[in-house]
Structure formats: structure tokens, C-alpha cells
């Protein structure tokens, strides 16, 4: 007998956990992806702060050289 004929519709209380499971998987993957992207953006921001600090140090050094 083909499988679909052998598998009648599940009752709501049993089907509900599978449906919830599928949608939760989708949402969890989305949330994990967004969390990874948030971590990446945090790293970019930190690097940008470091670059800005280097640029400011350079500016201060060149000012000192001019005044000397």
C-alpha cells in the first residue's frame, strides 16, 4: 500500500507539535543568523573605533611635529 494511503491525517494534538517544530526550526535558524550578523557588526564597529583611534593618534603626532 502506498505510504500516503497508509498514513491518515494526524489528530490536531499530535500534528500540532510537528507543525510547531517546523516553524520553530525556521525561526531559530533566522534568529541564529541574525545573532551571528550582530556579532560580526560588533566586530566591525570595534575595528572602526581602533582605526579612528590610530587616525587621531597620527593627527596628534603630526601636530606635535609641526609645533616642534
Amino acid at each position: 500500500m502506498p505510504l500516503p494511503l497508509a498514513a491518515p491525517a494526524l489528530p490536531l494534538d499530535e500534528a500540532g507539535k510537528y507543525v510547531a517544530g517546523a516553524y520553530v526550526v525556521f525561526m531559530v535558524l533566522l534568529v541564529v543568523y541574525v545573532a551571528i550578523m550582530a556579532a560580526k557588526l560588533g566586530r566591525i564597529e570595534r575595528e572602526l573605533r581602533e582605526v579612528a583611534a590610530i587616525a587621531e593618534d597620527r593627527k596628534a603626532e603630526s601636530r606635535e611635529e609641526v609645533s616642534a
Partner: protein, 240 residues
């Protein structure tokens, strides 16, 4: 540059997802055969369609890269494939859950639709080791583009072969001899397809924006002649 329009796109994606999920659970009728379990269809099938189309789009961007030698297209191709692989993971997991509920098995090896999608997914899973096995960035981008074009051409061929094959248990979504879906189900499905398509576009744009920002910071560091903390990333192509 890549971040332009990201905010309205994100808002449209969230709104469309909310509307589509409401239609799926409160408007679309229960399936006569499968009952409530058929609701998985509205997330599983759009994810599969968008993932496969995303792989093809990755191939089209790769053609643009090979024609113009512009690294921007390589980044587009990489990100399209990357997001589609993530969607592919969701397709396999939601499909396995649906299969377990409907057929009593997590996986059916003699079903062409399932196995063909797994083959496509595994093919694209090899994209990452293939890409990062090459040190030289230009060669890496060129070879990855050739891979993306070849694999992208394989996707529609694979799809057609599966449509022509005799399906054992996996249902066909559209245009079968037994007729299509009722109007309410079709509306919910099409809304969900648009929502997942918007989600794919948003994530691609989000990823490209992050890569562009990262690339700009690295360029700034190089311009300042300072050592790069942590070294350069080999995980993704740089976008300027």
C-alpha cells in the same frame, strides 16, 4: 552603498511574514487528506523554491563576474549561494519533520524529490571548501564563479528531471492532473512565497552591507599602514 533601502526592505519583509503567517494559520483551510500537518507546506515549499532560485541567481551573478571581472559580482554570487545554503538547511529539516509526521519516516531514500534536493544541497556545501582551498583571491573568485555557473545550470536540469520522474510519495505542488490547490490555500502559499523571497533579498543585502563595511575598514587600516588585528578574513570575499 549596499545598505541603501535596507530599512524599508526589512520592514516590508517583517510585515509580509506577519501577514502570510496569519493567512496560513487563520485563513487557509485545513487540507482534507493531511489535516493540520499540511501547514508545514507553507514554510517548506517556499523555502525550497527560494533556495533553488537563489542558487540560479548566484550562477547568474557568477556569469556577470566572469564577463566583467568585477569583484562586486563575485561577492553577490557568494552571498546568494551562502543565504540559499542556509535556506537549504531549513528545507531539509522542515521536510524531515513533515515526512516523519506524514509518512512515519524522517527520510525516504527512494523518493526522487528528496534525494535530488539533498544532492543539490551537498553540491553547494562543497562550494565553501572548494573556494577556500585556493589562496590567491583572483583565482579563488574565478574558480568559484565557474563552480557557481556549472552548479547553477545543474539546478533547473535537476528540477526538470525530478518533475519527469515517477514520484512515489512526495506530492507535486502545481499543475497536476488531479488539479491544483483551492484559492485560499494558493493565496496563503503565494503570500508566503513572496515573504520568503523578501527575506532572502533582505538577508543578501544585509550580508553584503556587512561585508562592504568590513572591507572599507580593512582598506582604511591599510591606508593608515597599520597591522590588521586578527589578520584578513578568508571566510568571505571582500566587498569595497
Amino acid at each position: 552603498m549596499y545598505g541603501k533601502g535596507l530599512k524599508p526592505l526589512s520592514i516590508a519583509t517583517v510585515a509580509m511574514l506577519a501577514v502570510s503567517l496569519s493567512l496560513v494559520f487563520f485563513y487557509a483551510p485545513l487540507d482534507a487528506d493531511q489535516g493540520f500537518i499540511q501547514k508545514i507546506f507553507y514554510v517548506h515549499v517556499p523555502l525550497a523554491i527560494v533556495a533553488l532560485v537563489g542558487f540560479i541567481i548566484g550562477g547568474i551573478f557568477a556569469i556577470a563576474h566572469l564577463r566583467t571581472n568585477n569583484r562586486k559580482w563575485d561577492a553577490y554570487s557568494y552571498v546568494s549561494i551562502h543565504i540559499s545554503v542556509i535556506f537549504g538547511v531549513a528545507v531539509l529539516i522542515t521536510g524531515a519533520i513533515w515526512a516523519k509526521a506524514s509518512w512515519g519516516h524522517w527520510w525516504v531514500w527512494d523518493e526522487p524529490t528528496l534525494v535530488s534536493f539533498l544532492i543539490v544541497f551537498l553540491l553547494y556545501a562543497t562550494y565553501y571548501p572548494f573556494r577556500y582551498a585556493i589562496e590567491d583571491r583572483d583565482r579563488q573568485a574565478r574558480y568559484a564563479s565557474v563552480f557557481a555557473v556549472t552548479a547553477g545550470a545543474f539546478v533547473p536540469l535537476n528540477f526538470m528531471a525530478v518533475r519527469m520522474a515517477q514520484s512515489l510519495v512526495h506530492p507535486r505542488t502545481f499543475a497536476t492532473a488531479e488539479g491544483g490547490m483551492p484559492g485560499e490555500m494558493m493565496l496563503a502559499f503565494l503570500c508566503m512565497l513572496v515573504a520568503i523571497g523578501l527575506l532572502w533579498t533582505t538577508l543578501v543585502k544585509f550580508e553584503l552591507t556587512a561585508k562592504s563595511a568590513s572591507g572599507q575598514v580593512k582598506r582604511l587600516r591599510r591606508a593608515l599602514d597599520a597591522p590588521v588585528a586578527g589578520g584578513s578574513s578568508r571566510i568571505a570575499p571582500e566587498v569595497s
